[in-house]
Each structure stands twice: as C-alpha cells, then as structure tokens.
C-alpha cells in the first residue's frame, strides 16, 4: 500500500481544476463532515459569489433501516435557491457512491439545479453505483475493511487518515 497523499498539497491543483469550470451560476455544497471542511477551503480559494451550502445526508441514507439514524445529524443549510444553478457538490472521499446518491436526492428537494458536478479530494474506488467524480484530487488504494477519512487539526489543516472500519 502506498503512502496517503498530503491533503493540503492536493488542494491548489483541485481548486485550479474547479476554477476552469466555474460559471456565473456556480454554487458549492459540501457534505458533512469532511466534505464540509474541504468545501470551506475550496469555496474561499475560488471566491464564489454565493455563500457555501452545507448538507447532512442523514435523512436520505439508504442504510437507515440497517444502521439507524446517526447520533448527531447536522442541519442542512442551503442559503440560496438551487433552481437553475450549476452545483459543485464537494465530498472528501468517494467510495461506494451511496453518499453522493443521497446528496443528489436531498439537493432535488431544494429545487431543480441546471447541473451537478462532483468534486472529491480522493477517490478510493469500490463503487457500487454508476457515479463518478468530475474533479478528483488523487486516486488511492485502500484495503477493504479500512476507512479513509479526512481530519481537521486545531489550526485548520486537513489530513487524510486510515482507520479500522469496525
């Protein structure tokens, strides 16, 4: 297994790639928790006009009946009209694709966007749904049974970490 990439080093090239796709209708929505941290950084780097949207997909998960409701769902805040917008959906790690599906379902309950593009810091493969990222910082190999997560230090720096999924 190769070493994990430095999250901070992935940010500038990811922001540059996103900048090329920005339209006057672009808005950004980050998925709690790691995706929200990442989106805060990217949103500032791109200087988007609309404030950042933040989304907790707890009420849209497809494993609610197996896993239950997570303990502390955050409040989704979409401080703009979704109708007709080009949405940049931001998450930290792309894996099965189920979170992205849930996030898209939730977005549509706020309105009909003109488009949705997905930006992730890392793609670890293992997709279970036909979903792909338009913008991806890096691809990494992660052994099954391990969870790849974004962490945020007290000084705001982001870092990728591997932990046991169990």
């Amino acid at each position: 297994m190769s070493a994990l990439p430095d999250a901070e080093a992935l940010l500038p090239p990811l922001a540059a790639a996103l900048r090329a796709s920005v339209t006057p209708a672009t808005v950004m929505v980050g998925v709690f928790t790691g995706g929200a941290w990442l989106a805060e950084r990217l949103h500032a780097m791109l200087g988007l006009a609309e404030p950042l949207g933040l989304m907790d997909i707890a009420f849209y998960r497809d494993d609610y009946h197996k896993q239950g409701l997570k303990h502390d769902p955050k409040r989704t805040r979409i401080p703009f009209a979704i109708e007709g917008k080009d949405v940049l959906l931001v998450d930290d790690v792309l894996y099965t694709g189920r979170t992205v599906r849930a996030a898209m379902n939730e977005l549509f309950d706020y309105g009909r966007p003109r488009s949705i593009a997905l930006a992730v810091l890392v793609d670890r493969g293992g997709r279970q749904l036909p979903i792909c990222a338009q913008h991806c910082g890096a691809r990494v190999e992660v052994p099954a049974g391990m969870r790849l997560r974004l962490k945020r230090a007290a000084d705001g720096r982001l870092a990728l970490e591997l932990e046991d999924a169990a």
Binding site: A58, Y60, Y64, G68, L69, K74, T76, D109, Y110
Partner: protein, 316 residues
Amino acid sequence: MPRNPQLNANGKLQHLLSIEGLPREILVQILDTAESFVGVTEREVKKVPLLRGKSVFNLFFEGSTRTRTTFEIAAKRLSADVINLNIAASSTSKGESLLDTVANLSAMQADVFVVRHASSGAPFLIARHVKAHEHVINAGDGRHAHPTQGLLDLYTIRHYKKDFRDLTVAVVGDVLHSRVARSLIHGLTTLGAPEVRVIGPQTLLPAGVEALGVRVFHDMGEGLRGADVIVMLRLQNERMTGALLPSAQEYFMKYGLTAEKLALAKADAIVMHPGPMNRGVEIDSSVADGPHSVILPQVTFGIAVRMAVMSIVASN
C-alpha cells in the same frame, strides 16, 4: 434493576413512553435531531424519505385533534403511511380489549403505534406486548406522561435560552392533572436546570410534588420573580365543578398571567403554553399575543420533535 422498558438491549430508544428515566444523552440526541428536522420543515419540499414504506398507526383512545394532527404531519413528512384510528368511536365500544385491538393492527403490518389513552400506563402495557420491530410512542396517558409535549417544551426552551444550566423555570397552574407538567419537570431535572418552580393553589398541586425536585409557590408574585421561562398550564373547565376552585374569575385574579405579573419575571422571559389555551382564565390575551409569547413556535417545533422521535425509535 429491571431494564427500562423504553430501551432495547443496547440501551437505544425502542419506545418513547415517558421522559422519566431517560438518560440525558438520549434527550440531547432527540433535541439535536429535531434541530435538523426544523431545517427540513422550513424548505419548499418538507419531506424526507426516511420512513418510506413504514406504517404509523395513530391510536387515539381519547380525543385530541391537535396532538393527533401534529403526529400525522410528522409521520407524513418522514414519508410514512399514516392510519388514524379514532378508537373511542369504534372497536372498544364493541367490547374489544386494548391488546386485541393492538394485535389486530399488528397483523396489518404496523411499524409505529402512537397511543393516546385516558388510563395512565396504557402505552406501557402495549409496549410490553408488541413485536420486536414495532415501536410505541406515548401521546399522553391519563395524568401520567406526555413525553413529546415535554420534549417540545425542552426544545423551545433550548432554542430561546441556549443552555439549561442557569435557568429558572416556573410552571404555573393545574400541575395536579397535568401530564405535560410532569414530563417537563423530569426533562428539566435531567438536563440540569437548577431551579424549577411550580406555582398554583394547594388544591391543584400534587401532594409531595417537592419530591420531583421543584420549589413550591402559592403566590404568583413570589414564584415569577426572576424567572427565565414561564410555562402556563391549561385550566380544565371540569376542575371548576369538583370544588377545587371557587371560580374562573378568581383563578384569573390570582394565577392568570397578566402583563403586570409577567413584569416580575426577567425582562427577556419567554411565555409558553401547551394549548389549547383559555384566554382570560390562565392567560391574558395581551400576554398570549405579546412579545414574550413563544406559544406558536412551540407548535412548529413540536412537529420537528415528533419527526425526531419517530425516526429514532423506528431505526432502533
């Protein structure tokens, strides 16, 4: 010690029967989850797919339009199918027992029973007999408990006051017959409110109420002094006849909340009422409609709180 009948083997909330005995952690979980649902209720599409395919049965053995309606709205906003049964007017009047009624509904593939009953303890009895995947929510049983009302009161207090740790809460009126008061007092104690007061005539306060950890006042002026939160209870008209009170007018004079009495509380005090309210009996219109009143926000928060309770129990 016998297991709390509301919790499953993993300590998770299986049924919501009473706030009494629920750990602080679960109360906070419900309030936090409700906060996220408040966001949902402010959207254009006020629905999430969480309970899609589940059936919620509203079993109201005692009438209550408002509570039933808010449970119905909450369940529909979770995408559940809702079946309302006004049992008072159906099977039981033909002699069917409570457990037979529930067994029949269970055979119709129920997932959640919302139960209102005039007898204290009826929801507990049902909870003991339902299948493992079925959940019971107490929507008010006799004089005992009304946990979702208590939770929405707690939610409202937290919304406006942020923290329970420095609060003085005054509960005014007919505490004796109030399941709302009982549920709220247990919740406030669990969440650490340092001073809970009950104010009312001797005849409307239960004997030994101090054992719940409250201070007792018979004088409105003394009891309201310095209060952050005032919870007015409904004076049920039928109490007049039982020689508990001289008259509605005299009650209003002594215990009705007027602007003058409200001025004794803190300047930023909030006024709550579980509804339905009797204007001019326990509360003056100028207060009910005034700047301190949060009576209508309570109703709105109540839907989010019931969504939180249903989604938490149904997943455990």
